[in-house]
């Protein structure tokens, strides 16, 4: 039991940190990355929670999460790369964005 507790605490701490990165930004891609990281950690958290409650059959939902996380990330990035959800708009290449996107040494 104690190992599940330790791992759960670790995963929750990791979620907190990733959430901080999602809030701090600074660039959009950082947010997508943080969102993706939170998704991965939620999958782990779900598995751990199943073991904590003694009902690990609920792993199905972790599987679904893995799928959804992937699909959401790909959809978001399609949105950035092509600025559209439909392939017909592919020719509209987005303008080069070039702000000051370095986040400083320690974010």
């Amino acid at each position: 039991m104690i190992m599940f507790v330790v791992a759960t605490i670790a995963v929750i701490v990791a979620i907190v940190i990733a959430l901080a990165r999602a809030i701090l930004g600074p660039s959009l891609y950082d947010r997508v990355l943080a969102g993706n990281a939170v998704g991965t950690k939620t999958i782990l958290l779900l598995g751990l929670m199943g073991f904590l409650t003694g009902r690990p059959e609920f792993l199905d939902i972790a599987l679904l999460y893995a799928l959804m996380n992937f699909i959401a990330t790909i959809a978001i990035l399609k949105f950035f790369a092509y600025r559209t959800m439909s392939p017909q708009m592919r020719d509209m290449s987005p303008r080069l964005g070039n702000g000051n996107h370095d986040g400083g040494a320690d974010g």
């Binding site: 670790a10 701090l24 991965t40 950035f80 320690d106 974010g107």
Partner: protein, 134 residues
């Protein structure tokens, strides 16, 4: 035998937790987007896998459970590089420049886009001053 499995999974959980925290810390500490991406990879690969292996050892030979855990692991193995690559690719074609070299200097090497066409807002920056407020 039971003891061996117990200690092995204890070790796997400890190591997995360490790597999950490491990945998250890297996500916070590293200086720019491209380097943070590597840190997030640590969580996705080794951290998640170690914890999942630990769970497999704890599954008490319930092979349906083991199969599900293995499928999750395999799925993470296949999807996480694809998501990481597509984030990196989107940032790259969106013109986000990486910090390179020991001095972590900006290098203006990201591919140029046609600036007259389809203007959109900056993919990067913008909320530079937001960090303190949030």
């Amino acid at each position: 035998m039971d003891n061996v499995i117990h200690y092995a999974s204890l070790f796997l959980f400890a190591a997995g937790s360490f790597f999950v925290i490491t990945g998250a810390l890297g996500l916070l500490r590293f200086p720019d987007f491209y380097t943070r991406m590597h840190a997030s990879g640590v969580t996705d690969t080794l951290g998640a896998d170690l914890i999942l292996w630990g769970m497999i050892l704890q599954a008490d030979g319930d092979w349906l459970l083991i199969a599900k855990l293995l499928i999750i692991m395999l799925f993470l193995m296949f999807t996480s590089p694809v998501s990481t690559h597509s984030i990196a690719h989107a940032a790259w074609v969106g013109g986000l420049n990486p910090l390179l070299g020991k001095e972590l200097k900006h290098h203006d090497i990201a591919p140029d886009r046609d600036e007259t066409k389809a203007p959109v807002e900056m993919p990067g920056g913008e909320e530079q001053n937001k960090g303190g407020a949030a």
